[in-house]
């Protein structure tokens, strides 16, 4: 493939008029994009803008409906990931393409060509690890590793194939700030060695940190190719979203009143094989405030959520006190009757029944009075309720009362959060409110949560998105390995302090950063 000398000045890779059609939907519409040797090129866009489709086409996972790909000036057709790799492309996937039960070395070996075996992988792994500072233990099973370590496996796997172009799809979404910085250093170094990088993200700050050129996608089209350092974050966001994104208003007076939620010395053993134990959690949420819980995924967030919602009751009643009532051993519905509302992380299958209509889905948390009587469903009342949620929370539906699975992720999230907020709960606990939701919907959801708090409810937001927590929270704590740091007013936190807590090293450093 690389025998001939490339025509001088030709970009490493050039996409011309790439289109991909799924039925009526044009996921990619005539996209042009070029990447120079050694360049770190950003691909920016909201969820659903067509970024993932485009890179899957480039990597040969899906085939384009139209368009041409040129590699070093020559037209090529990339029919499969194997051909892509032979050409010199490497890809680090957003949702890791790893095999949980296999070891690190096995995970790497399985993606490499036949001349590699486990022992050559092991020795080369050591070499690459020390060159790029990507520490990995070859014999650990992947399911025991952190997200940062998993990503390192993917990167090492690509590097072992000496890629000319490395594609990273939202690489920092699961990393702590420190891990992200570490990744950026590695990428800078690769770029200096002449490897091109296509960096996909919706986080403007890191794009400005890394890239000199960024291609912005909106609704499947290229809207601009810019120098991200020459534009403000606001201008770039406007290009991505199409209209100016307002910021969440949090400036309303913040007068927290009585305590609505008290968690006292809550400990729980892990629920299953891959679960996380909760260790001596203490937490108070008062009426009128938003309490944020930060942390890297898998540190006990879902376990904490399950304990608070009653999905997994605690062993003593006073571990969780809701509205003055010891409710640690109550089930979900009993807690709802105390005025609490819960929105779990997984919208489809946990917060909503996929094949049920929206009106039927209102029954999941509104079973009490307004939508059923003596065990019978009040069909019209349920439909009216669904309609009012759809209207108040700007849920875009394909038809009047569709099945939950027919909604896009962002719209369904607006629905399930709206379904709880419309009840005006005294307490709402939300796990990852805007995970995988586009910027417009995310802003609406955050605003609704803040407004609910300002109207006198207690709001607890569990999130991996630090920007989100800094935007909405009045007080924040960090969860790490099932332990919760003390709650501090948001003004007392810095990103560095949060990062250290996420890594569990704050204590070792005397905790001085946060105080």
């Amino acid at each position: 493939m690389k025998a001939d000398v490339p025509p001088s000045g030709a970009p490493l890779v050039e996409l011309k008029g790439i289109s991909k059609r799924y039925g009526d939907l044009l996921a990619n519409d005539g996209i042009d994009l070029s990447i120079e040797p050694g360049e770190i090129h950003a691909l920016l866009g909201e969820n659903g803008a067509g970024k993932s489709t485009l890179v899957k086409i480039l990597y040969g996972v899906i085939e384009p409906s139209a368009g041409e790909i040129r590699w070093e000036g020559r037209p090529v057709s990339i029919g499969s990931p194997v051909e892509a790799r032979a050409l010199g492309l490497g890809m680090v996937f957003q949702h890791f393409s790893l095999f949980d039960e296999l070891s690190v070395a096995e995970n790497i070996a399985v993606a490499l060509s036949d001349e590699w075996n486990l022992s050559t992988v092991r020795s080369k792994l050591g070499e690459i690890s020390s060159t790029y500072g990507l520490a990995l233990n070859a014999d650990r099973a992947v399911w025991t590793l952190s997200a940062g370590e998993r990503q390192r496996i993917e990167i090492v796997r690509c590097l072992l194939q000496n890629p000319r172009l490395l594609i990273l799809d939202e690489p920092t979404s699961v990393l702590t700030p420190q891990e992200s910085e570490h990744l950026f250093t590695t990428l800078d170094r690769l770029s200096a060695e002449g490897c091109s990088i296509l960096y996909i993200s919706h986080k403007l700050e890191e794009v400005r940190r890394l890239c000199r050129r960024a291609t912005i996608l909106r609704a499947g089209r290229v809207v601009a190719t810019i120098d991200p350092r020459a534009k403000s974050a606001r201008e770039i966001a406007a290009l991505m979203v199409g209209n100016e994104v307002g910021e969440v208003r949090t400036d309303a007076p913040h007068h927290p009143e009585g305590e609505i939620l008290r968690v006292a010395n809550l400990s729980m053993p892990p629920a299953g094989l891959h679960g996380q134990a909760l260790r001596d959690i203490n937490l108070v949420a008062r009426a009128g405030e938003v309490v944020g819980i930060a942390g890297v995924a898998g540190n006990g967030q879902s376990e904490l959520f399950a304990a608070l919602s009653g999905e997994r009751p605690a062993d003593r009643a006073d571990a969780v006190v809701i509205a003055g009532k010891a409710s640690g051993i109550m089930g979900i519905d009993a807690r709802r009757r105390l005025g609490a509302a819960f929105v779990p992380e997984e919208r489809l299958g946990h917060a909503a029944a996929p094949s049920h209509r929206l009106s039927e889905n209102t029954l999941i948390s509104h079973a009490a009075a307004e939508v059923s009587r003596s065990g019978f469903i009040l069909v019209n009342a349920a439909k009216r309720l669904a309609r009012s949620i759809v209207q108040s929370f700007d849920v875009r539906t394909p038809e009047g009362d569709p099945q939950a699975r027919k909604l896009s992720g962002g719209n369904l999230q607006k629905f399930v959060i709206g379904r709880e907020i419309i009840r005006k709960p005294k307490l709402i606990i939300v796990d990852q409110p805007t995970w995988g939701v586009d910027a417009g919907a995310a802003r609406l959801i955050r605003q609704a949560l803040v407004d609910l708090a300002r109207a006198g409810s207690a709001v607890v937001v569990v999130s991996q998105d630090l920007d989100e927590l800094f935007e909405v929270a009045d007080r924040m704590a960090v969860i790490h390995h099932g332990s919760l740091s003390p709650l501090r007013p948001i003004g007392e936190w810095t990103r560095e302090a949060v990062g250290l807590e996420m890594l569990g090293v704050a204590q070792a450093h005397g905790g001085a950063h946060a105080v």
Partner: protein, 305 residues
């Protein structure tokens, strides 16, 4: 030959078909495909092997016909679950019902026929050692083959590149596809291997164990092989242990019934099943952590293209 020797020898004969069928299913399941049609493929293997062996008066042709029948049944299953991404549970159950019915039809003309026993492989000198001599060194070829097969399957899965590919595909077919691993091709061959093994197990039943054909003679052994794979946590070594525990319990309960302990015979018949569950549960507890099924087991693979 002492009574102990006789009992031990029958245990080996009872365990071997379970071991062979379970190994085949283990490979299929490790690739992420659940084939509930083992019982049907085994029945077809038994009927076709017996029919061919009687017709051509050749055990070798019989065995080949049994394996071919199992493979063809598996190919039909592969067409459904790979070609049409059909529900694997439904397709597997259908395969069992089809196999049981079709084997009855094929075997009907051969009811009442008998085959001579197969001469065991007699390894000189070693087989003269008292008790263990005959047990270890004077078995039929299939017994040795099944042990070798266990070792080969273990080595293949854990020590070869192709085995690693197969395990990866079973663990997460979406990732495997994104890495460019040939999901369909590997699963196709894994399903065929499972079919060939089930057919061979059926052939062993008809040609060595009973030496006659009767409809429904597999008597649930295919289901037991399936259960063994689960209880053995998808590990070939444990399948071997499980198969022999089950085989031993089957034979011993017969002797217990003959000895008339005053325990209901129905209860004694249940002993093998209870013993298998208990022993393999203990194994799995001792191993420390429960071992999950392959991540993509039973999930149809439909790539987005």
């Amino acid at each position: 030959m002492t009574i102990v020797e006789a009992i031990l020898l029958t245990i080996v004969t009872a365990s071997t078909p379970l071991l062979i069928a379970a190994l085949g299913e283990l490979v299929t399941e490790r690739s992420g495909v659940l084939n509930l049609g083992v019982e049907g493929m085994m029945a077809m293997g038994a009927a076709c092997s017996f029919a061919a062996a009687v017709t051509f008066d050749s055990t070798l042709i019989g065995v080949a016909a049994g394996m071919l029948a199992g493979t063809l049944m598996a190919a039909l299953f592969a067409l459904l679950v790979l070609g049409f991404a059909a529900n694997q549970t439904g397709s597997g159950l259908a395969l069992t019902i089809l196999g049981l019915g079709l084997s009855g039809l094929i075997g009907a003309p051969f009811v009442g026929a008998r085959r001579d026993p197969i001469a065991p492989l007699d390894i000189p000198i070693l087989s003269d050692i008292p008790v263990v001599g005959r047990l270890f060194f004077e078995q039929d070829l299939f017994v040795y083959a099944s042990i070798v097969l266990t070792v080969l399957v273990g080595l293949y899965l854990m020590r070869t590149r192709s085995g690693l590919t197969l395990r990866s595909i079973g663990e997460n077919h979406t990732s495997a596809n994104a890495l460019g691993l040939p999901v369909w091709r590997v699963r196709f061959w894994a399903i065929l291997f499972g079919g060939a093994c089930a057919g061979l197990a059926g052939a062993y039943l008809a040609l060595v164990y009973t030496r006659f054909w009767s409809p429904g003679m597999t008597a649930g052994r295919g289901w037991i092989a399936l259960a063994l794979v689960v209880f053995a946590a998808w590990r070939p070594g444990w399948v071997l242990v499980g198969a022999y525990i089950f085989g031993a319990a089957t034979v011993l309960q017969l002797h217990a019934q003959a000895a008339q302990f005053g325990v209901p015979s129905q209860l004694l018949s249940a002993v093998p099943y209870l013993a298998t569950i208990l022993a393999l549960l203990l194994l799995s507890i001792r191993h420390g952590r429960a071992i999950g099924a392959p991540g993509s087991l039973g999930v149809p693979f439909v790539p987005d293209r």
